[in-house]
Symmetry: C2
């Protein structure tokens, strides 16, 4: 299956359980990489349980735990604070999972679980100052309104974050200058620039300041990288660098193999990293044997993908195209997928098969 954007899918078909997830959740159609800001309906989506129906009139956010002055805030209270609008790139921690071998069974992403929206909301830091976080605080627990069973446990989705990582966080009530759509966390979600998507807690209703490490499911069992069950592993945190290109030409409906004509072709795409700015993007037109530098567009800001372009003289025949990002933190995308049991953070370089014919 060389036609697959991102390469081949591992042995064994996608299971019925996985199909149920794939039918609900969806990636960015890769042609939408042409837009610096992703329209809301094209942004990738990963929803653990059901989308809750929330009445914005009675909605409240609680800030509680190890604070001097617990706060309860309505949406109007939040909208009355200084407003920030920032384009920020999100990527699912499971992006690339279905390309691993052996293939971890869960939401079966190829390479498309990404998107960049302009998030509008209130900064978290001044609200924490207002609540008076105790010096003994170490983590913030973000709790949501969606409920389900995972790992055999009935739970509301909740994720903790080291308190030092929250400086830059937003409490977003708007997406692309409109209210959050239901599937993106209406009426309020957390946005933690640079982190994988699991930290951008949707339908956020409570922030609890903790003085001890949180041991709940989404931090201690899920979203950890280990090779076998029972290992403690390493937590999934920031996005590793990745670049994706707008697939050139036109697709075959079923195989998605790309077809284009010979001649000068401008390849374009976008690259991002949660560990720094994008320093370099390189393109290969020979299946990853050799890479040449792409031209970078000006950066749109911190924690936003960066556009690039590359001139390709397409010749008749089959070609495998790839792009590869390097960030200022010295991280570079690997050619071979890094494997872990749950299939997180596979940022191996994409492989796009193109048939060139007159």
């Amino acid at each position: 299956m060389d036609g697959a954007p991102g390469g081949t899918v591992g042995e064994g078909g996608i299971t019925p359980d996985e199909l149920q997830l794939a039918a609900r959740n969806h990636g960015l159609p890769l042609e939408a990489l042409r837009d610096p800001i992703t329209p809301a309906g094209l942004h990738y989506l990963l929803i653990h349980y059901d989308i809750p129906a929330v009445d914005p009139a009675t909605f409240e956010l609680e800030i509680t735990g190890a604070v001097d002055r617990p706060l309860t805030l309505t949406l109007d209270d939040l909208r009355a604070r200084e407003r920030v609008d920032r384009p920020i790139t999100f990527e699912c921690a499971g992006n690339g999972r279905a390309l691993l071998e052996p293939r971890p069974v869960s939401q079966p992403w190829l390479t498309e679980a990404v998107g960049t929206a302009e998030w509008g909301g209130a900064r978290l830091a001044p609200l924490l100052d207002e609540a008076g976080v105790k010096p003994s605080a170490t983590e913030l627990l973000f709790s949501a309104l969606d409920k389900g069973i995972e790992g055999g446990e009935l739970q509301s989705y909740e994720r903790a974050l080291p308190i030092g990582e929250a400086r830059d966080a937003l409490l977003a009530y708007d997406m692309n200058a409109g209210p959050l759509p239901p599937q993106h966390g209406f009426p309020l979600r957390l946005v933690v620039p640079g982190w994988y998507g699991m930290q951008n807690v949707k339908w956020l209703t409570r922030i609890t300041v903790l003085e001890e490490p949180f041991t709940g499911f989404q931090n201690s069992v899920a979203y950890r990288m280990y090779d076998a069950d029972g290992e403690p592993g390493e937590p999934v945190t920031r996005m590793l660098p990745r670049s994706l290109m707008v697939p050139p030409g036109v697709p075959d409906f079923m195989t998605r193999t790309r077809h284009t004509e010979p001649g000068s072709t401008t390849l374009t795409g976008r690259a991002w990293s949660g560990y720094g700015s994008i320093e370099r993007v390189e393109v290969s037109t020979d299946g990853g044997s050799t890479f040449s530098a792409a031209v970078l567009e000006p950066a749109l800001g911190p924690n936003v993908w960066r556009g690039w372009s590359f001139s390709w003289e397409a010749t008749t025949g089959e070609h495998v195209l790839s792009s590869r990002a390097t960030d200022t933190g010295g991280n570079i995308q690997p050619l071979d997928p890094p494997w872990n049991l749950k299939g997180y953070a596979n940022n191996a370089v994409e492989r796009i098969t193109v048939q060139v014919a007159p």
Copy 2:
């Protein structure tokens, strides 16, 4: 895999080709059946090729072929006509495909390829009158801006419709009171109330009045029901009746099996048909052995799904829930999936497994 909404998925895992389609396209998350009008980002999507980037300032719609006065219309021209806003239910012709056995290989839908939006635009009929359709005309060909390869043929998406079926059609430039999102055909799409989704041509750019039957791919090869390649088959046209329920309780993340507590539970859902109004919805809580009448909500209008509710006394244990629609045309949903080679129009009753425990 009894936990699958809609029943079991046929033998053999989903292939890599199908996964690429499933990662791009998406269904309605079934909890969104609670909304009479589906938010744009939750409405199902099936896109054959790539989403084209269209400049609305230079966009034109041509009405040509067997007419006395060919027309070329800008978006402003269309917006200057009488405006109609109508909620209309859409369903993909391939809905239910992945539940067939043997399983046809294409976009692998379970039961969720549906949605209802309020479509705003100009009526087609007065524009045809203005162009002066010749009495010899038999079909209308709707041609779009998206391009790809299908059945080995490079093509723009285009679908013909018998001219008598076009009376009620809209040329929609708005969805849910905003401009069409790119993935729903920006800046203009056709809406043919009552027909399966393939007829609601997105990115519409040309209407050609024909005097002979159209023999292009999407009418003569695709969207036909036959049992073996080479048979002429019957064309896919209007939506057969179907009812779906809001899955009760909460989901298990991976299996999507529902979990709820014993006691009085109100089941709700929506039902539709392209062959008439919904006359009756019945619910089964014993895997389809017996059915009892649900209470119908008032109809929202023609060609819109109709809400229903049903009181269920949930008892501890595992239950399989189903709902079944009958329309005023005398059509009723079958318990067993109707099979054809390409997997169209499988409107077999849903099966939702629920675990009830205190």
